[in-house]
């Protein structure tokens, strides 16, 4: 089997598992207190990139567009088996989905001109912070490549990507010739934990640094805001079977039963 080279794109995002705090200008989420991470979809995309390249003897390159701190996310991907890393240094909240797609496409083309092709580009299905659901699809049009969206299983055999994605009628299978773009949804693979030697090796990899190729058009964001807190109260309806009539009343009131 010929070597398949994979580019996997990740985004440094504030951890949103605790309370979300906005920046003072209301243009972004402030991650100073909660910390930063990458989306679980992207962790799965990294795992798939490592699996596909390990099976074929190719190179897995990880890419991010973000500030200098995004190197942390690149190093996490290097620690689990990616072999090269590229950082497009930019203020990510000023970049809309079309801007990001254009910048990733420029990297793919430049690398190709240098003799490093990325046969398969993997991304998360959507960004954990901006929830745009479109960068991978826009990238495919930028590159003139086919795209499979929301796949959880990806394998490459004889220059063809086999991708499986959950559809309305069941698991859907695509067979797409390389080069291609696939966006990944969590659930098909278990991301591995980095080993100690993996972490050590990751520290030594030189990260390629680039600047954006054009001024961003921006995300058309007016501002971010927080939804009003959901009122919550706890009422004990009773114990055991005696509680049943009260439970039925509540279910009817909520419209669960009708």
């Amino acid at each position: 089997m010929s070597a398949v080279n994979v580019l996997v794109c990740v985004k440094r995002v504030p951890d949103s598992s605790s309370e979300v705090v906005l920046t003072d200008d209301a243009q972004g989420v402030d991650g100073r207190y909660a910390g930063f991470t990458m989306s679980p979809h992207e962790e799965c995309a990294v795992e798939l990139a490592v699996q596909v390249t390990a099976a074929s003897g190719g190179e897995a390159t990880v890419l991010s567009l973000g500030d200098a701190d995004a190197v942390e996310q690149l190093r996490s991907a290097l620690a689990v088996g990616c072999t090269a890393a590229t950082l497009i240094t930019a203020e990510s909240q000023r970049f809309g989905p079309a801007d990001v797609a254009r910048e990733i496409a420029a990297v793919v083309r430049d690398h190709e001109a240098e003799g490093r092709s990325h046969d398969l580009v993997l991304l998360g299905n959507d960004a954990a912070d901006s929830g745009d659901f479109q960068v991978g699809i826009r990238l495919a049009y930028e590159l003139g490549r086919p795209v499979v969206n929301g796949a959880s299983v990806v394998e490459v055999q004889d220059g063809v990507v086999l991708a499986k994605s959950e559809g309305p009628e069941g698991m859907e299978t695509y067979r797409v010739p390389l080069p291609a773009v696939v966006t990944i949804r969590e659930g098909g693979v278990e991301p591995r934990y980095p080993s100690v030697p993996g972490r050590m090796k990751a520290k030594k990899v030189a990260v390629e640094e680039r600047t954006p190729t054009a001024e961003p058009q921006g995300p058309k964001r007016v501002r971010l805001l927080l939804p009003p807190p959901v009122p919550s109260s706890v009422q004990v309806l009773g114990k055991g079977a005696d509680a049943a009539p009260a439970v039925v009343d509540v279910l009817e009131e909520l419209g669960v039963l009708r």
């Binding site: 954990a128 929301g150 559809g167 698991m171 971010l224 939804p227």
Partner: protein
């Protein structure tokens, strides 16, 4: 014209979330001086579906048929939707924010060279057209300007309650059988595996969801919950802990990396 992508369910009825999208489109239409609302359906429109669309005030139902759209392809179906958009001269193209809806609308936006807003909850003002949408998995909201034409967006599930129109629309059926370019058919579904016998419903489309988390205790802790889910005609929704532990499949997961079920 406001063009709404309507997705039928397996029995040929409009999805509840598609009816919500039509309801939202009518609110938008009223604000814009009674702009007509058209529906686009990929595949044959059944009689029942035609009646539902009429009840929701649809002017024209655009049915897309032909070999090119027989199997799903994001690019192929989006090219067909854009053919309909040209014919209907619509200034808005929208869909429910299902997996398909978000995928197709992203293709439509990329092909038309315009922005796309995913998971919109409401709009405030038409010039400029500003929408509020869910970000950070619903933990924050974003006001976003859609100042290009067509304005392209998906509607978050249950952002509005589905309500039929006061006066039904003619829902005149027009068939389109566009030629789909070969390049748009490269990434196309070649086969579908039917889900396992125990179907627990599609979360993004469910009206009622039974939620469960770590407290279920293990894979066996879900038996009663599934029975309750079936009795209520609901879908089962579980936390990330449950799917990470392998107790339940990922498609039942609710939240940022699972399904978003309510604004």
């Amino acid at each position: 014209v406001i063009l709404v992508l309507v997705e039928p369910d397996l029995e040929g009825h409009a999805l509840e979330v598609s009816l919500e999208a039509l309801t939202f489109a009518r609110h938008l239409s009223a604000e814009g001086g009674d702009v007509p609302v058209d529906a686009v359906v990929v595949g044959e429109v059944s009689d029942e579906l035609g009646k539902e669309l009429a009840a929701y005030g649809v002017r024209t139902v655009h049915q897309v048929t032909g070999e090119g759209v027989a199997a799903f392809s994001g690019a192929g179906w989006a090219s067909a939707i854009l053919t309909v958009r040209e014919a209907a001269k619509s200034v808005v193209v929208m869909a429910a924010g299902t997996d398909r809806g978000n995928e197709l609308i992203a293709h439509v936006a990329a092909r038309a060279g315009v922005a796309m807003a995913a998971n919109v909850l409401s709009f405030s003002g038409l010039s400029p057209f500003v929408v509020t949408r869910q970000v950070v998995g619903g933990a924050a909201l974003e006001e976003m300007k859609l100042d290009e034409r067509p304005a392209v967006f998906t509607l978050a599930g249950h952002a509005v309650a589905a309500a039929p129109a006061e006066a039904p629309g003619p829902a005149e059926l027009v068939t389109h059988a566009p030629e789909i370019a070969a390049v748009d058919l490269v990434a196309r579904v070649v086969s579908v595996e039917q889900p396992a016998a125990e179907a627990t419903g599609d979360l993004t489309k469910a009206r009622v969801v039974v939620g469960a988390g770590r407290g279920a205790g293990g894979p066996d802790g879900f038996r009663d919950l599934i029975e309750l889910t079936e009795l209520l005609g609901a879908s089962l929704g579980v936390s990330r802990v449950v799917t990470s532990a392998g107790w339940r499949p990922h498609h039942e997961q609710v939240g940022q990396t699972g399904s978003r079920i309510s604004p």
